[in-house]
């Protein structure tokens, strides 16, 4: 293509001594590290660890049974004025919200705005929204991390970034113990835009004292939906 490209590549080849005895041989990569944890995805031990790590980073965790999602969502964002949701979000989750301004509880009415890919919400509107509700792709217990991959129930990256409160609904079966388990799950569609979230945004830039909530959502709620009969459900 360009001259710079040719020259940079030529310099690199020359630096490596390509075609000479000093050319380095790529080493085998030892993979003695853990490729998976000792606990199964979604197991009680893994869920407990995730909750512990999330709370350590000041995320708010709510553990509910499958039937309890709508009530929990209503409790967490029921007083928001505007809630943004991705197009593919399970509408059952929003069933507890009062959305009809003509109802008797109009003072509690929440405006639910769907971010339609055909007509994406402008940035100002996302900025004015009080909360966003999304699902997630996978979560990592050891690090307290939730990964969004832009699927229809998670939406484009901007909607989970600009509103000040992020409520993320996570199914127990999506929780793995280790980073390699998550990366390998994500590797099936690596080109999707990925956002790894571990607690609310934070800074330690001023005398290393941690301040939660800078540019991203200042509050992160995680709604952990445990399978019926599972411990803690």
């Amino acid at each position: 293509m360009s001259d710079a490209r040719t020259q940079v590549l030529a310099r690199v080849r020359q630096a490596l001594g390509r075609g000479t005895p000093s050319e380095p041989v790529p080493p085998e990569v030892p993979r003695a590290y853990r490729s998976a944890g000792e606990h199964a995805p979604g197991s009680a031990a893994v869920l407990d660890q995730l909750v512990d790590r999330l709370e350590d980073y000041r995320a708010h965790v709510h553990r509910v049974a499958p039937g309890g999602v709508a009530d929990a969502v209503a409790q967490i964002v029921g007083h928001a004025t505007t809630v943004v949701v991705p197009p593919g979000l399970d509408r059952e989750w929003l069933a507890g919200l009062v959305t009809d301004p003509t109802s008797g509880r109009s003072h509690d009415a929440v405006r639910v705005v769907v971010d339609d890919p055909a007509a994406p919400l402008p940035a100002e509107m996302l900025d004015a929204a009080s909360a966003v509700v999304t699902a997630a792709r996978v979560a990592i217990a050891e690090t307290g991390t939730i990964v969004l991959d832009g699927g229809p129930d998670q939406g484009r990256r901007a909607i989970s970034l600009v509103p000040d409160v992020h409520l993320c609904v996570l199914r127990a079966g999506q929780v793995v113990q280790t980073v390699p388990e998550a990366v390998r799950a994500l590797a099936t569609s690596p080109a999707r835009p990925l956002t790894w979230v571990s607690g609310p945004s934070a800074t330690s830039d001023i005398e290393l004292s941690r301040v939660e909530g800078v540019h991203g959502p200042r509050t992160l709620h995680v709604l952990l939906v445990e399978e019926a009969g599972a411990p803690g459900a």
Binding site: Q14, R34, P120, L161, R184, L194
Partner: protein, 546 residues
């Protein structure tokens, strides 16, 4: 030449064009005279980000006199050290991860040409545009060209070592483009017209009240009753930057990793300013050193464990963004990747020194370094401070690099900015043997100076060789040295010797010689009948010398 409180040379004041900066300093304006009214220390932006102009010993001496700086540094480095130790300690397979990380980086360098071509193919296939830059000037031209083509005169920036290394902000300012740093610490540094002093926490040398003063004076829209509580300061920055994030057309970032097999790029951050920059603008320009590759997507499982724990001492940093080219309907719809050489291919040519290119910029080596802890980042005279800077900077700029270098280059002193204690090697997540590279670089510098005319070191060594090859001469020299005792103070320390000894005492104290040499003492204690040997008796040389 005026000098600043941190020993920075007063070379140039780049148009900082700070966001909402209230100094009235037009972008690109240069001031030639020292700035007497500079409220936050008249720190100037040096012309060369990798060669600030002053050698380490001189800069370090000044930094050591700054008690506030040393207090800030001691607090910061000891805090991060403790955090890192705690979260590394809870990973049972940490050493195995380091082994994998080290081998992966070695593999990347060995296969670099192929992996770069693979990355380019995959980024291009996903709608990105790949540019190649031989040096800083070329990279800056490319970025400025893209920004201008978008019709923008302002860009939002994610903290990035590569763009600091090429002096991108100053280059853009010269083209009339304001680069707004959005990382809180970088914003502090930019508003104060300061230089960063740490890879990870660039404003580590500033305490909260200094930061409040900087915000009040320079931010423009800071609340007048702003306190120095960190939370309030962070919220002031949030409010200040939000409008920029929502309206910016172009963002500039670096990259922590680039996956050759998929074309995926990764940025690891904490505040959400990275997500803002990588998501909101229509156009994204990423500047990345050619060594930042990993072969396959799965390899991220190694580095996304090693980096956050080594860097901020967290199990995972709050936000990591990964993107692959352009995703229709999500994030920037135009993506440019600038692959930067800028001396890296030269470092690669060195079989020992090339390991410096394994660096993932975690800064763990800074936090454990006894030298860094006392002198801070500015003394290293480069955007890469600390132990990694001591091996990377001189190699990037050394003889043979396009930028020049060689003897008399202030960077030639950097390999000596170390006690070789080895703490940096122990904490390095990719096992860069920094002490060995330091020793190698020192040896190379000495070799390069061999045969130079009137080299005082060589001359001294030649004399020493002559003296020490003969017992009589050596004994005489020892007794002569005893006379040097008078040069010592009451505490037995020599602080100022006349030339050429002044070259030593300029940077270190010298213990005063004892009143009696070992040989004289031995003779007196064990062979009382014998008088000390005369000074020029060749027959006395022999076994005891060896």
């Amino acid at each position: 030449m005026s000098r600043t409180f941190l020993g920075l040379p007063a070379l140039r004041r780049g148009g900082h064009g700070g966001p909402g900066g209230g100094t009235g300093d037009p972008a690109g304006a240069h001031r030639d005279s020292p700035v007497a009214d500079e409220p936050f220390g008249p720190v100037r932006h040096p012309d060369a980000p990798l060669r600030w102009g002053e050698s380490f010993p001189r800069a370090a001496k000044e930094a050591l006199g700054n008690a506030q700086l040393r207090r800030n540094l001691a607090h910061a480095t000891s805090t991060i050290r403790a955090r890192r130790a705690a979260v590394v300690g809870e990973v049972p397979d940490w050493e195995a991860l380091r082994d994998a990380g080290s081998a992966l980086k070695e593999q990347v360098l060995a296969r670099l040409p192929e992996l770069l071509e693979e990355l380019e193919r995959n980024v291009t296939a996903r709608g990105g545009v790949v540019h190649w830059a031989r040096d800083a000037a070329e990279a800056n031209r490319i970025v400025a060209g893209i920004v201008k083509a978008e019709g923008a005169d302002e860009v939002v920036k994610v903290k990035s070592m590569a763009t600091q290394e090429i002096g991108l902000n100053e280059a853009l300012a010269a083209e009339g483009i304001a680069a707004v740093e959005t990382d809180l610490a970088e914003l502090i540094v930019q508003l104060a017209d300061d230089m960063p002093s740490h890879i990870l926490v660039p404003a580590i040398h500033r305490n909260r009240s200094e930061i409040r003063d900087i915000f009040l004076a320079r931010m423009g829209d800071a609340p007048p009753d702003l306190s120095d509580v960190p939370r309030e300061l962070a919220m002031a920055a949030r409010a200040h930057l939000r409008r920029k994030f929502l309206s910016a057309k172009v963002a500039v970032s670096g990259a922590n990793f680039a996956v050759a097999s998929t074309g995926t790029l990764a940025v690891v951050e904490s505040e959400g300013n990275g997500r803002m920059c990588l998501t909101m603008p229509e156009t994204l320009v990423t500047v990345m050193g050619i060594e930042k590759l990993v072969p396959s997507f799965e390899d991220l499982e190694v580095f996304l464990q090693l980096l956050p724990r080594s860097s901020t001492g967290e199990r995972m940093n709050p936000y990591t963004s990964l993107w692959t080219g352009v995703t229709p309907g999500d994030g920037p719809q135009r993506f440019h990747l600038v692959l930067l050489d800028n001396g890296r291919s030269q470092v690669l040519a060195d079989e020992t020194g090339r390991a410096a290119l394994h660096c993932i910029r975690c800064s763990a080596c800074l936090n454990v370094c006894p030298v860094y802890e006392r002198v801070g980042g500015h003394a290293y005279g480069s955007v890469y401070p600390g132990p990694i800077g001591a091996i990377l900077t001189p190699q990037l700029t050394g003889p043979g690099a396009r930028t020049g270098g060689g003897h008399g280059d202030p960077n030639a002193a950097l390999p000596y900015a170390s006690t070789l204690c080895g703490a940096c090697y122990e904490v390095c997540p990719v096992k860069i043997d920094i002490p060995s590279i330091l020793v190698d670089l020192r040896a190379r510098e000495v070799d390069a100076d061999r045969g130079r005319l009137a080299d005082p070191t060589a001359a001294a060594m030649k004399v020493a060789g002559w003296v020490m090859s003969d017992g009589g001469r050596f004994a005489a020299a020892g007794r002569a040295a005893s006379l040097g005792r008078v040069a010592g103070g009451r505490d037995g320390v020599v602080r100022h010797l006349p030339f050429p000894g002044s070259r030593w005492t300029a940077s270190r104290d010298l213990p005063a010689p004892p009143g009696q040499t070992f040989r004289d003492w031995w003779t007196k204690e064990h062979e009382p009948g014998r008088t000390p040997p005369p000074a020029h008796e060749p027959g006395d040389s022999g076994e005891e010398q060896r």
